[in-house]
């Protein structure tokens, strides 16, 4: 009995040490986050009025009004900082949207439409989803994607987080595990059910009273893997944890949620993604952010996210059968070569090595392959304890404590 208690105590101690270390490296980011939240409704209204005034003044001078947006698609506009991730530089290139050009006037009109909608929402202190805005004038926007992009552009242009624009987005992510919280409207959410997951809140900023005894957070790339882990009652078989999936490339709410949990709980966050370029990309988005949302990196990235697996080197180490591998497509190869140029990859030799291994293998485990190799997790599950340990002893996962904790608790 004493041995068991001592073991659990050591385990918790190791986790606490890891938390403390991760926290130390995040101090700068927290300060930035605090600064970002100080945008009042009056600020939002003033900034929109400035944009409108600029247009009116242009017209009064007989000039065609234009809107200038920071370019959100160029790596040249992005800087990398290990504590923040990918963030937009101060001297960024801008995209000009003209009002007198047939190819851009639609964008110009859409932007103004969204701006006026936001203005009203902020004035009346009400919220609308991007879907609501789209259905307000489907002919103008053409597709939901246009609204998404326009809202992000406005957020970037006004330097205001989307939440402050009173624009919400329907979440696509799911969350489950040892977690209870309260929505802004007072609704209590309990994610402890072992069978069904809860949708990530569309108002993450409004979440309060988070209660959890989870020891770690597990980000799962794919919804299928996530469901499989739920079915296998992964949470109840291991130490208490929180599982979250953004169902592929994560939406803003899933990323905000991960960030919120980190800010509140300060527990290790592990990413379980496919051993292919897209898996690495998705894990990087949680950890370091994306180019298009780099202007809001401070509220979206969690640089403490750790790459659990499945590592490309595991494919060889675990002797995954060749017929269970799917060769890379040209898109995969192109993605890999783009990954190798990323600043965060070149700064981390272990990542770089794994990426190069990915290139050498030139294939990823097939989803429906026999022998339980359908997903990284099912792959892990089919392994014996020795191989599982080998998986956790990855060179990227440089935290022996975490490995120790997981190796002991994750005794599938």
């Amino acid at each position: 009995m004493n041995t068991v208690v001592t073991g659990e105590f050591e385990e918790l101690l190791e986790v606490e040490k890891l938390r403390a270390r991760l926290l130390n490296s995040q101090d700068g980011q927290d300060a930035f986050q605090t600064e970002r939240e100080e945008v009042t409704s009056q600020d939002v209204l003033s900034r929109i009025e400035n944009v409108i005034l600029g247009i009116v003044l242009s017209l009064s001078r007989g000039e065609a009004p234009v809107l200038a947006f920071h370019s959100r698609s160029h790596w040249l506009n992005v800087r990398f900082h290990s504590n923040i991730g990918l963030h937009m530089g101060s001297d960024t290139a801008v995209n000009i949207v003209r009002s007198d050009c047939p190819s851009s006037i639609g964008r110009f009109a859409s932007t103004l439409k969204v701006l006026s909608t936001v203005y009203k929402l902020v004035q009346s202190n009400t919220y609308a989803t991007k879907r609501d805005i789209y259905y307000n004038d489907t002919q103008l926007f053409g597709s939901q994607r246009t609204v998404d992009s326009v809202v992000d552009d406005i957020s970037c242009m006004l330097k205001i987080p989307r939440r402050s624009l009173h624009v919400l987005a329907t979440s696509k992510g799911l969350i489950s595990g040892d977690l209870c919280y309260q929505e802004e409207d007072g609704t209590k959410m309990n994610c402890k059910s072992s069978l069904t997951a809860v949708s990530v809140s569309s108002n993450v900023y409004g979440i309060k009273n988070i209660v959890s005894s989870a020891k770690f957070i597990l980000i799962v790339e794919k919804d299928a893997t996530f469901q499989r882990l739920l079915d296998d009652e992964f949470g109840s078989k291991t130490s208490p944890c929180i599982m979250i999936t953004g169902k592929g490339v994560p939406d803003i709410n899933s990323r905000l949620m991960v960030r919120k949990l980190w800010d509140t709980l300060h527990i290790p966050i592990l990413a379980l993604v496919d051993a292919d370029p897209h898996g690495i990309e998705i894990m990087s988005i949680y950890k370091y952010g994306s180019v298009s949302m780099s202007f809001e990196a401070q509220s979206l990235t969690v640089p403490s996210v750790m790459w659990l697996g499945l590592l490309p080197s595991d494919i060889e180490r675990l002797r995954v059968p060749k017929d269970a591998l799917v060769p890379f497509s040209k898109k995969d190869e192109s993605k890999l070569s783009s990954l190798l140029k990323r600043p965060y990859v070149s700064l981390q030799p272990a990542w770089e090595k794994e990426c190069r291994v990915t290139g050498l293998v030139g294939a990823s485990p097939r989803q429906d392959s026999v022998g339980g190799w359908g997903t990284p997790w099912t792959g892990c599950r089919s392994l014996n304890a020795k191989r599982a340990r080998a998986l956790f002893h990855s060179p990227v996962l440089r935290d022996p404590q975490t490995v120790h904790v997981l190796a002991k608790t994750w005794s599938v």
């Binding site: 209204l45 003033s46 929109i48 009025e49 409108i52 005034l53 247009i55 009116v56 003044l57 017209l59 009064s60 007989g62 000039e63 065609a64 009004p65 009002s99 007198d100 050009c101 047939p102 190819s103 006037i105 639609g106 110009f108 009109a109 859409s110 103004l112 439409k113 701006l115 006026s116 203005y119 009203k120 004035q123 004038d137 002919q139 103008l140």
Partner: protein, 581 residues
């Protein structure tokens, strides 16, 4: 007389055409063609009509015209005799401008002869049509009716030509008597941008082969839109009419007279193509004006539903060039006979090859009108977006509780309330979007920027007005000012080849035929200041405007007799021309 002149021109052009085919690629060599007629009609002491046709310069330097001379003299009517030009100075001036004389014939009709205005109008129209596809040749037409003189010069500047079929299509929209684009705040393009189609071989019906028409026949289409609105992408533009210009194998216009019925193939053309593909509801045959000052085409079609549009009306010029080659023809008479046979039976040939012609025209129209279709779609986008922009702007301003913001908005637009603000914003936005100017390399830009208070003519009247062709035409007609004349004078100094125009000029005006008419101070006179006896203090405008109508002119006294000659320089001396106004 008209028939004779037409006959001479035809023989001349057939000779030049076949000579060019042998030489290959001499289409860009410049030169001139002179047609001069002098008539003393009933009531005058000497009742006669004299005519001169001359060709000079390098465009026909390789031709031998003995056959033409022979053909003409052999078929002369008894009342017509070969003589000398009545106005040697005129011929001399012509040679000075166009180069060495290559061909010349003068003839005289003695006794009472009927000279109707319609005859000369037809000659003028023939020469005009000829000039469109022989832009490398300056064509001079002079008509002296008793003491009244009327002159026309058809010339196109060197850089405004489009080489095609060994000749050049003139690309100056004014050559086609078409209005230029509406005056705007920026430069305008007064040029056509022809799109050549693919030459389509035509099959000869058996009956024609049996009649002796042999060789290969093909149809080369080319099209151009006028006015060019490429530099003003946001101007609403709409195709208003289509004009067909049909040219025979020697690039001679077919010129269906008003009395003649147009080719049935051309009448069916309205139903031949699927117009909806080109964004048009349909076309219908229209009346071809044969009045003076109108360009005669073989067929005119009006685009249905274009009458009520406020958009800039565009004309589609559709050139159809027939090409014929018969290796067994070598004599001028053979060429003329086969060409006549071809032209007489053209309708049957076109009907026989209806599908081929349809495919060729469809493909060409797709290329030519694709830009118009894109423009229509762009216009639709603009029209859909502008109300959204305006309502969004008004919405924010109206619902704002910031006094400073609202006041600044109202003050900047110089309005009292938000309702006025909405109206003013709409006007301002429409103006800035419509007047967008995009310089294009292929377009010639005529800057119209008005220096403040200089009183120059520009499009400022249209600044807030919808773009209407009628308005612009009105503006053009009133835009012939002194600057314009000055430019033409400098143009003349460089022999019509000047590419740099330093003086400000009015776009869409300078190249208008009426401007041509007005700018000549004498018969083919090089420059105003070179005219002895013409006082610098004379009202130039009076001198210029006089030429648009026949004007009396006193001729030099030292005229020399010029006899029929060809090949080589004429023994002409420079004569001085005096202009009285």
């Amino acid at each position: 007389m008209l028939t004779l002149i037409k006959q001479v021109i035809r023989l001349l052009m057939v000779t030049v055409h076949h000579s060019q085919k042998r030489q290959k690629g001499s289409g860009n060599v410049k030169g001139g063609l002179l047609v001069s007629v002098s008539a003393e009609t009933a009531g005058s002491p000497s009742d006669h009509v004299c005519g001169t046709v001359a060709a000079a310069g390098y465009w026909c330097s390789e031709c031998t015209f003995e056959d033409v001379q022979r053909e003409v003299t052999q078929n002369l009517d008894s009342s017509i005799s070969i003589g000398s030009p009545t106005d040697p100075e005129q011929l001399s001036e012509f040679l000075d401008r166009c180069g060495p004389l290559r061909f010349h014939i003068s003839f005289q009709v003695t006794g009472r002869s009927r000279v109707s205005e319609g005859d000369w109008l037809k000659t003028e129209q023939l020469l005009h049509r000829l000039s469109l596809v022989h832009a490398q040749v300056e064509i001079y037409f002079s008509l002296k009716l008793n003491e009244a003189i009327s002159q026309k010069i058809y010339r196109c500047r060197a850089h405004w030509r489009f080489a095609l079929l060994g000749g050049c299509i003139g690309t100056e929209s004014a050559l086609y008597l078409l209005p230029g684009p509406p005056a705007g705040p920026s430069g305008q393009c007064t040029q056509l941008h022809p799109v050549p189609g693919a030459a389509t071989p035509l099959l000869l019906p058996h009956s024609l082969v049996e009649m002796g028409l042999c060789g290969t026949i093909s149809l080369l289409p080319a099209a151009a839109l006028s006015p060019c609105v490429a530099q003003n992408p946001n101007w609403p533009a709409q195709l208003v009419d289509i004009r067909i210009f049909l040219y025979g194998p020697s690039n001679l216009p077919l010129l269906c007279d008003a009395e003649e019925r147009p080719l049935s193939f051309l009448r069916d053309f309205a139903h031949l193509l699927s117009w909806k593909e080109f964004g048009l509801s349909g076309v219908r045959c229209s009346e071809n004006s044969t009045e003076a000052g109108c360009l005669l085409s073989e067929m005119v079609y009006t685009v249905e539903g274009s009458e009520q549009s406020a958009a800039v009306g565009q004309t589609l010029l559709l050139f159809l060039f027939l090409q014929h080659s018969d290796p067994f023809c070598s004599q001028l008479s053979d060429f003329v006979v086969s060409e006549e046979l071809l032209v007489q039976n053209l309708d049957r040939i076109l009907q026989h090859n209806q599908e081929r012609v349809k495919v060729a025209l469809h493909s060409l129209l797709q290329c030519t009108l694709s830009g118009s279709l894109k423009r229509q779609k762009a216009q639709a986008k603009m029209q859909a977006a502008i109300p959204v922009i305006l309502s969004s702007l008004s919405s924010v301003v109206s619902s704002s509780s910031s006094l400073a913001f609202r006041t600044t908005c109202l003050n900047s637009m110089k309005v009292q309330d938000t309702q006025e603000l909405g109206i003013t914003l709409k006007q301002a936005l429409l103006e800035v979007t419509q007047n967008r100017f995009m310089p294009s390399r292929k377009c010639n830009n005529k800057c119209l920027r008005r220096a403040s208070g200089d009183g120059d003519v520009d499009g400022s009247d249209h600044k807030h007005a919808p773009l209407r062709l009628e308005d612009s035409s009105r503006s053009l007609s009133g835009a012939l000012d002194h600057k314009e004349l000055g430019v033409e004078a400098s143009h003349s100094q460089t022999g019509g080849e000047s590419t740099t125009v330093k003086k400000p000029r009015v776009a869409g005006v300078s190249t208008h035929p009426s401007a041509h008419k007005q700018t000549h101070t004498g018969p083919w006179m090089p420059a105003q200041h070179d005219i002895p006896g013409l006082s610098q203090t004379q009202p130039t405008a009076a001198a210029h405007t006089a030429c648009s109508d026949p004007v009396p002119r006193s001729l030099g006294k030292d005229n020399q007799q010029v006899h029929c000659s060809h090949h080589g320089s004429p023994a002409l001396t420079q004569s001085t021309l005096y202009l009285t106004t």
